[in-house]
Amino acid sequence: MPSPHDLDPSTPAIRFEGVEKRFGDNVVLQGLDFEVARGDRVTLIGPSGSGKTTILRLVMTLEEANEGYIFIDGEPLTHTREGGKRVALKERHRNEMRKRIGMVFQQFNLFPNMTVMENLIEAPVHVLGLSKADAVERGRELLARVGLVGKEDAHPSSLSGGQQQRVAIARALAMDPEILLLDEVTSALDPEIVGEVLEILRDVARTTDITMLIVTHEMHFARDVSNRVMMFDGGRVIEQGDPETIFTAPTQERTKSFLSAVLGA
């Protein structure tokens, strides 16, 4: 498998091609096409139920599309076209693809049976094959980065929501992902600690070249961090562009009304 750094830089990190996702009769995404270039920070906005979470879950292979194709670095993620037919790829292939992708969840989902450090090193040791010493060292660096030095041996349940989410960010970064998926990572937090988590993500965005796909209602954050905003409605991208344009001069009525609703303006 070619290292992503050997790839033609114009190959998009994520590419959706005619993706359709249904839950029973409910068609959530239909004929969805979009690309995310490598190093891009793309924020998905749109009303609740418009399918933003579903898109991230499709990329993380937590859901499977019913039609269409998703490519990561130009490689098919779960399905490929063979002789005009849509063919499911083996679990082993999906596993390899997953290693390039990290995700931070709204509900943190730290492992409660492990300490903070154990959460951070579990996958690096057992999936990436790092030595325990290396993984712990890297874990320490990441803890310092998210401002949690000294919490190595703490149990997740003894941490505040904001601290848990910072550990979850560190845990995702410990896998050194090329793509990071962030699904409303501050929605479960008390308003006064949202800032500390966003500050860390701003720092990650500044200091790395990780491709980010972000779902958030924090429009200031979206504006600071992302270089592109995609507005979803009815399972389609109805408008996209740089944050400045979308937030100040949207062309679509629905974007305008959505923004005025979330910005309370």
Binding site: M60, R98, I101, G102, M103, F111, E122, V127, M175
Partner: protein, 239 residues
């Protein structure tokens, strides 16, 4: 009463012998039941239809056909089909498979009750299914399943009181001998208290396991703290 006590004294070897059988059946039966519960509980979650179907048939058979019938199945029927076994073996098999089948449902249910986010976070970290089950899911499911397993363990202990049916000399049979030597209320009062104490000891042990398992998930106090001496007041404020 004095006569009763001296008769009890005389009957102590018999009571001990009976209790030995009861404890042996409980220990071996629950050990087998635990293995059956884990194996079939995991098989019942398999994505392969044949594996899952086989597990379901075995579980429903042993849950649905009555413990006593199974006891006779191993004691009378299998020997007639050419599988000779001692009454103890027949008892251990019946208890292990019967309560193991109930336990399999507990195991399956507890695994399913581990929040979806834990499964998804494991996938997002590319942990393999086996690794995920062993390191993430089972430790959390374990804490969930202990109370139900404790119930089953007590049921199993009480269930062993029927092994007199297959000629074993257990505590219940010993009590009948004691009844003849003393009197009904003395013998059975004594015997019920013995069973109660056994059940109580098992429950204490399982509670300790539960405290430890929960503490490992960051819930509640450690086992050492839970066992430490405190005034009723302090305990009241903890609860």
């Amino acid at each position: 009463m004095n006569d009763d006590l001296s008769a009890l004294w005389a009957a102590i070897p018999q009571v001990l012998e009976g209790m030995g059988i009861t404890v042996t059946l409980t220990v071996l039966g629950s050990a087998l039941a635990f293995v059956v519960a884990v194996v079939f509980g995991l098989m019942a979650r398999s994505r392969t239809l044949v594996v899952r179907g086989f597990a379901r048939v075995v579980i429903e058979f042993f849950r649905g056909t009555s413990l006593v019938v199974q006891l006779y199945l191993f004691f009378f029927v299998l020997p007639q089909l050419g599988w000779e076994m001692s009454p103890i073996t027949a008892g251990v098999l019946a208890f292990g498979l019967n309560y193991g089948a109930y336990g399999a449902e507990v195991v399956r249910g507890s695994i399913a009750a581990v929040p979806a986010g834990q499964w998804e976070a494991s996938t997002a970290l590319s942990l393999s299914p086996v690794h995920r089950m062993r390191r993430i899911i089972i430790p959390q499911a374990w804490a969930l399943m202990i109370p139900s397993l404790n119930n089953l363990l007590i049921q199993l202990l009480k269930g062993t009181a029927i092994v007199g049916f297959i000629t074993l000399f257990d505590l219940t049979v010993a009590l009948d001998k004691l009844r003849i030597a003393t009197d009904l209320f003395f013998a059975y009062g004594f015997g019920l208290v013995l069973y109660f104490v056994l059940a109580y000891i098992l429950t204490l042990g399982m509670n300790a396991l539960e405290v430890r398992a929960k503490h490992r998930l960051g819930q509640g106090e450690s086992l050492r703290e839970a066992l430490s001496f405190r005034t009723p007041d302090a305990r009241g404020s903890v609860a």
